[in-house]
């Protein structure tokens, strides 16, 4: 059933993509859909592109583990668009540049700034592709039991081929379609669960007790984990516990225990769930009520959470695959209307992950023991509903998850290969296709390496780099006449490269403790303000490199089209 759901989404994606490419006639059609897309369609497409594996799967997983403190996460994913509406949407559309590098060049008359912006488009795009690849690998593992790499390679190939043959016109229809697939796939099961299902232990979710297994539960470990046992528990099964092979029942005393890869353990009904060390809140009351961020191995969790929120609020403005969509609006006025629709559509989607997260804690506590809470949305339907109906819901959810990686990864791949083909090659459709294949292959290779990193941590990195590099460039470029070439370059490099370096260090496993570790693993709260600050200070010091004709550029950015002076920056 799940496989059927996935296949339907893939086939529909290909079909709409191919139909779209037959409609497209010119290169400009191919890249920006010739700005002929209506606001409703465009808003659906923006949401389709935006709601990624981290939102579809990861948000529910985080809420399941940490509880109410994580309810801010979906809110911030939506609120980022409010900031985009306030500071970027209409002026950017009026300026008429296709991409962020175009904006950098057009606003600053500087090829150097264009190149720097392009480097960050590539960095953000690739960081953001990683969680999509991980989501794909995880989903296929949960559904078919296939190894992680199969999902990454299969989904990565589907996306790459579709982007290479479809281009943007096809993608606009595909993305709009996929938004609705995702809303239905997360909303319908959630509504069914809360309407018809009553769990006997429901009340325990707000009481000061640990999560417990409602039934005798067999848990399979496909990697080795350290778990924290809070109450003595008797295990049976096969495998390795604390380095010793299991032979017959064993009693685990409270404390830390390691469970070997490949173990299959059975825990009795009513047992307190041993949680993966330091990754979840162990007390349901603390989980349900605000700021249950303790019980968590990240240093300074409040900073980490706050920094992620900063990244989300500011990062949306700098996401290259989202920005390119704003050029498909017909004018600045429509760009605002589209963004407002986006806020509504995102609100509709993001109210649902909390339902899955909360029910996951009741029905699927074993995920807290194996450390794969990101899979909660996928496995709930069969656990809660069961039978044929459960199978159909599971198929629906799998289709939604597939839509999530397909759409976000396609958008990213277009942004990345667009930047590569226009800046390194001649910018023809052929180059675009070639670059799509290159960029897609690299994403698959790196996607294989990030299996053990939380989806939302991965996404937080992409948002953090965007918030620290392209966001200051866009906001200051749009609103401040005093921005100089050197200022813009220095700001992007300071904020963006510090954010990138922190992310890379964390990725290769440099994770010091204390404040340094907290900042390295979630740098945006420091690097985004730094990007703005450096941009302003250096601009002030280098007024000689303020580009000429700033007034004309401000006219292009801000004057309503009705006045009749708005021109494309290339004119």
């Amino acid at each position: 059933m799940e496989l059927a759901g996935i296949m339907i989404v893939v086939i529909a994606t290909f079909a709409i993509g191919t139909y779209g490419v037959r409609v497209a006639r010119t290169t400009s059609d191919f890249f920006v859909a010739s700005r002929q897309v209506g606001a409703t369609m465009n808003a659906s497409a923006i949401c389709g592109e935006y709601i990624s594996a981290a939102s579809f799967l990861g948000a529910a997983g985080l809420i399941m583990r940490y509880g109410s403190g994580m309810l801010w996460l979906p809110l911030a994913y939506a609120a980022g668009y409010l900031f985009l509406l306030l500071f970027v949407a209409a002026p950017l559309r009026r300026f008429g540049a296709y991409t962020v590098p175009d904006f950098a060049e057009g606003r600053l008359d500087s090829l150097v700034n264009r190149r720097i912006a392009m480097i960050f488009v590539l960095a953000i795009g690739w960081f953001y592709l990683l969680p999509q690849m991980k989501g794909a690998g995880l989903t296929l593992t949960v559904i078919t039991g296939s190894p992680y790499w199969v999902g990454v390679v299969v989904v990565g190939t589907v996306i790459t081929v579709n982007v290479a043959i479809g281009g943007m016109r096809g993608i606009t229809f595909v993305q709009a379609f996929q938004y609705w697939v995702k809303v239905v796939a997360i909303g319908v099961p959630a509504l069914i669960f809360i309407t018809f299902i009553h769990h006997p232990n429901q009340a325990s979710l707000t009481q000061p007790v640990p999560p417990r297994f409602a039934n005798e539960t067999s848990v399979k470990f496909d990697r080795s984990v350290s778990v924290e046992v809070s109450e003595q528990v008797r295990l049976t099964g096969t495998g390795v516990v604390d380095g010793l092979p299991l032979s017959g029942p064993v009693d685990l005393l409270p404390g830390i225990h390691t469970i070997g890869k490949g173990s299959r353990l059975t825990l009795p009904r009513g047992a307190a769930v041993p949680l993966v060390k330091g990754t979840s809140v162990n007390n349901n009351e603390r989980w349900a009520l605000p700021y249950s961020l303790s019980g968590n191995d990240r240093p300074h969790p409040l900073y980490a959470n706050g920094s992620l929120l900063v990244a989300q609020l500011l990062g949306v403005m700098g996401l290259p695959h989202i920005l390119v969509r704003f050029y498909t609006n017909s004018d600045g006025h429509t760009a605002r209307r589209t963004t407002l629709f986006v806020l509504c559509l995102l609100g509709l989607f993001y109210i649902f992950p909390a339902v899955h997260g909360a029910l996951g804690r009741l029905y699927a506590p074993r995920l807290l023991m194996t450390g794969s809470a990101d899979a909660v949305v996928l496995i709930l339907p069969r656990l809660i509903v069961g039978g044929v109906a459960g199978g159909i819901l599971a198929g629906l959810v799998a289709a939604g998850a597939m839509a999530a990686f397909l759409s976000t990864a396609s958008g990213l791949l277009i942004a990345v290969s667009g930047a590569l083909s226009q800046d390194l090659l001649s910018g023809s459709v052929r180059d675009f296709r070639r670059m799509a294949v290159v960029a897609g292959s690299i994403a698959i290779l790196f996607g294989l390496q990030v299996r053990d990193i939380d989806l939302n941590v991965l996404v937080g990195w992409a948002f953090g780099v965007a918030a620290s590099s392209l966001c200051p460039l866009l906001v200051l470029g749009i609103w401040w006449r005093g921005l100089s070439r050197r200022g813009a370059a220095a700001g992007m490099l300071a904020g963006g490269s510090l954010a990138t370096i922190s992310v890379l260090l964390t990725m290769i496993g440099v994770r010091p403790g204390g404040w340094l570790g907290a900042i390295l693993s979630q740098p945006a709260a420091i690097t985004a303000p730094l990007g703005f600050l450096v941009m302003v200070l250096v601009s002030r010091a280098t007024t000689s490199s303020v580009p000429g004709a700033v007034s004309a550029k401000m006219v292009h950015l801000h004057l309503p089209e009705a006045i009749g002076l708005g021109r494309n920056w290339r004119d």
Partner: protein
């Protein structure tokens, strides 16, 4: 509140209309004269002020919500139909507030632009 007349224009059609380019204010802006600059700057300032005002509203609403939830432990664990108030408040009402702020901004930003067009047309 007095009803506003909605003026529906297609940008291209307007651009093609020759008479508008003759408006002195539009010529000033096109030529980036000092007077034209002042005019453009007034629009930018109005829009930026509006953006900061809405951002401040956002910060105030969610700052108060976050602080009151944190300080009272989610209003002392109060529940409605068995669901903690925290989970309800951070759900649909918060998304509605965000969309509402967006709506407020869009209405006001469009008004600023219409006022600007009116000023220019009268010149």
């Amino acid at each position: 509140m007095p009803t506003r007349r909605e003026v529906v224009r297609h940008p291209r059609a307007d651009a093609a209309r020759p008479s508008r380019q003759d408006r002195p204010a539009i010529r000033e802006m096109d030529e980036q004269s000092v007077a034209g600059d002042v005019l453009v700057q007034s629009l930018i300032r109005a829009q930026l002020g509006l953006a900061f005002a809405v951002m401040a509203l956002f910060a105030i609403v969610f700052g108060i919500l976050g602080l009151s939830l944190a300080l009272t432990g989610g209003f002392h664990g109060a529940q409605v139909f068995g669901v903690p108030v925290t989970w309800i408040l951070l759900g649909p009402p918060s998304f509605a507030v965000i969309a509402g702020l967006g709506w407020l901004y869009r209405r006001q930003a469009d008004r600023n632009e219409q006022d600007f067009i009116d000023v220019v047309e009268r010149s």
